[in-house]
Symmetry: C2
Subunit: 279 residues, 2 copies
């Protein structure tokens, strides 16, 4: 299988790409699985080439192998390959062209409707259904499954990108893929072969010291670590033609104005209408 | 690295373990990464042995390499090794003894507080903070990161189990690990070496036909597939001494009564108090 060339990197090189050479943690145990995980990049440009037969089933087997809360398996996935349907979904998700480009688009669904049907068929009321907790379990189940699919896809030399904009118009997305009440498209995912022109540099992350806490949450040094990360991200942005140059600016652009939510500020009303009372 | 013996299985054997021989999909592309993912089992008994130096940092590097919505990185993780603190957390999480046994317990945190501090330091109001969408982004970020840590841990021959019961008493958990407002312990995770006595059979999942939909959501055949899965799970339960014999019974046990939520029916009030208005 033609895996990413990044997946063959040494620990030191892979950590330097992910954190910058100066912020990289000293490395511990290492193997080819960890190298693969460290090599992840989200890809926003695809070649039209189809996936080898059986790829979808392999990805879903990996996804179903992830943990699921109390084995409730409250998630589903819709595989979309029909160009017209991908175009509809792209339109609902902020016109992201890679949704149309990729040969396989997955709609990951937080899905309590299957368990609800089980209850109805067995004539048992499932009292826990209307709670925020039950919705949360379904969202987490879907996320863990999806991430396993990403790892499996990348191990096969495929690229992926999560599409959070699928939440911009959740009820319309539900209509396009025929979701019943109690099923919510949490995010989409493009899967395919990266276009040669697609930016594919590993994106640096915050220093571990900011994210990882020992025994107790501790914000000591956070402003200094943020400044170092801003510096790293400014250089990354300059190389990759992104609009905001520091992480600080990017967070502010994304979080300061309701308009940046592209309609997701109305999600609670949408969820209520879709069968999630969120008690 | 001493990976699980299951990770060396052929595609056919691994798929038969995950779905039962009769429901297994015909296999597509396969490699050692996918074999590792298919070999996952949640483990609820640990030896006291410590992890090799640097293991935590490697797991967190894998976690930080997962996708994060708009690179907001709205998650944190608390590494707990102090026996007294693990005992406190075990008590809050339904007295699960493996939380005390495992050498490393991780509290995965949906964390918008870091971005909130950034806003305060930059004197910019982040209007999107109080929304359900922002909470959801943080939960999904934490889940994707955590799943990468699981894959990395299992690749190193370690075992894991997610602890959803950390949500039974979210405010008390927050107190134990010192979480600020805008930070919520989504789930815990035990990491360590499986005790020889711990049940470790791969747990079968629902047939792919029930979970994977093509172009449109389709429930055709669901009752028959559920019956086949009930049969499979009854045999699995008999071999592994679980209490409920079919999947149907287990779903009903877990979802029919509010009491089974162990306090998580009060989560919205807890989230409000913890700085998540969920607008």
């Amino acid at each position: 299988m033609n895996m990413s060339p990044h997946a063959a990197l040494s620990a030191a090189d892979a950590l330097a790409l992910r954190y910058g050479a100066e912020q990289a943690p000293t490395h511990g145990p290492w193997n080819e699985h960890i190298a693969l995980l460290l090599s992840h990049r989200s890809i926003r440009g695809y070649r039209p080439n189809l996936l080898p037969e059986g790829t979808l089933e392999t990805l879903i087997a990996a996804a179903q192998s992830a943990a699921t809360s109390s084995n409730l398996q409250t998630w589903s996935v819709i595989a979309v390959t029909d160009p017209a349907k991908k175009a509809e979904l792209a339109k609902l998700a902020n016109n992201q062209k890679h949704i149309e480009q990729c040969p396989l688009f997955l709609v990951w669904v937080a899905d309590v409707s299957r368990n609800q049907r089980l209850g109805a068929q067995e004539r048992v009321e499932l009292e826990t259904m209307p709670y925020q907790e039950t919705f949360l379990v379904a969202v987490i189940d879907a996320a863990l499954a999806a991430q396993n699919a990403v790892v499996a896809a990348e191990s096969l030399g495929l690229s992926t990108v999560y599409i959070g904009a699928l939440r911009n118009h959740p009820q319309q997305v539900a209509k396009v893929v025929g979701l019943p009440q109690g099923a919510f498209g949490v995010f989409g995912m493009c899967i395919g072969y990266a276009a040669p022109t697609a930016a594919n540099e590993v994106k640096p992350r915050l220093p571990q010291a900011v994210v990882l806490h020992h025994e107790i949450y501790d914000t000591a040094g956070e402003p200094e670590h943020r400044a170092a990360y801003d510096h790293l991200m400014a250089a990354f942005s300059a190389r990759n033609e992104m609009t905001a140059d520091t992480w600080t600016k990017r967070v502010i652009n994304r979080m300061s104005k309701i308009a940046a939510m592209s309609g997701r500020d109305k999600m609670v009303a949408a969820l209520h209408a879709m069968g999630f009372p969120l008690h």
